[in-house]
């Protein structure tokens, strides 16, 4: 597929988000013109990237984001280097049926990512945390 895989590194800070979204828009547009794909991946990438910013601050290297197309599926990976293992994908599913007084926003983004994408995977190897996200574009 022309222009894919695409890969870019982003400073590990929240202000990188607009540039990440632009990169996803450009790259995922080569997989499918359907902006639904961009919305779903943006939600998941934002969630996991912000978790890297918050919970793996010891890693000072930029986060690598890669977009590819494999077997008809769009695939986005985030690689956080020189960090301790932290499998954020293993977070418990929040109880979304609780009354408002008991609702907490924590864990909602990971829950949404699991529900909206076809796969959310975590791997730790050589001091690198890699999160792989997959989604088959709609018809």
């Amino acid at each position: 597929m022309t222009g894919l895989p695409a890969e870019k590194e982003f400073p590990k800070k929240i202000s990188s988000l607009p540039d990440i979204f632009l990169f996803l828009d450009d790259s995922l547009g080569k997989v499918s013109p359907d902006r639904t794909l961009l919305h779903l991946f943006s939600l998941a990438v934002e969630e996991f990237f912000t978790n890297m910013v918050k919970y793996s601050p010891e890693g000072t290297r930029d986060v690598r984001v890669r977009v590819s197309e494999e077997g008809g599926m769009a695939v986005v990976t985030l690689v956080d280097r020189d960090v301790q293992p932290f499998d954020v994908t293993a977070a418990a599913t929040p109880d979304t049926t609780l009354p408002i007084e008991m609702r907490r926003p924590g864990g909602l983004g990971i829950h949404l990512s699991r529900e909206l994408l076809d796969a959310v995977e975590y791997r730790y190897e050589d001091r690198c945390s890699t999160i792989t996200l997959k989604k088959r574009p709609g018809p």
Partner: protein, 97 residues
């Protein structure tokens, strides 16, 4: 793409427009924290919302509900509607289509 605005309209509604991500959290919280009564939130031009945006709406709803008021979420786009459905916002907000 990262265009975002949150604005109090003359009719009393609140309009949230564009791409509501974590980089706009402070701007959004500054406006949501000023609400003191039941407020209709017009989302017809909201293209994207992340968990950060959901969390801010939830926080505002909890605060307003405690004083007998609420947010009413109106005119959702498909992306936003799908996210609200999974987050079960229908259980804690009035949602106008």
């Amino acid at each position: 793409m990262s265009t975002f605005s949150i604005t109090k309209l003359d009719n009393g509604d609140l309009a949230i427009v564009g791409w509501f991500d974590a980089s706009h959290a402070d701007e959004a919280a500054a406006v949501l924290d000023t609400l003191s009564g039941t407020t209709r939130v017009d989302l017809k031009e909201l293209e994207y919302i992340s968990s950060m945006g959901l969390g801010l709406l939830l926080k505002a709803q909890k605060r307003l509900t405690a004083s007998g008021h609420s947010l009413i979420l109106a005119n959702t786009t498909k992306m936003v509607r799908d996210v609200f459905k999974i987050a079960r916002f229908d259980l804690i907000f009035k949602i106008e289509e």
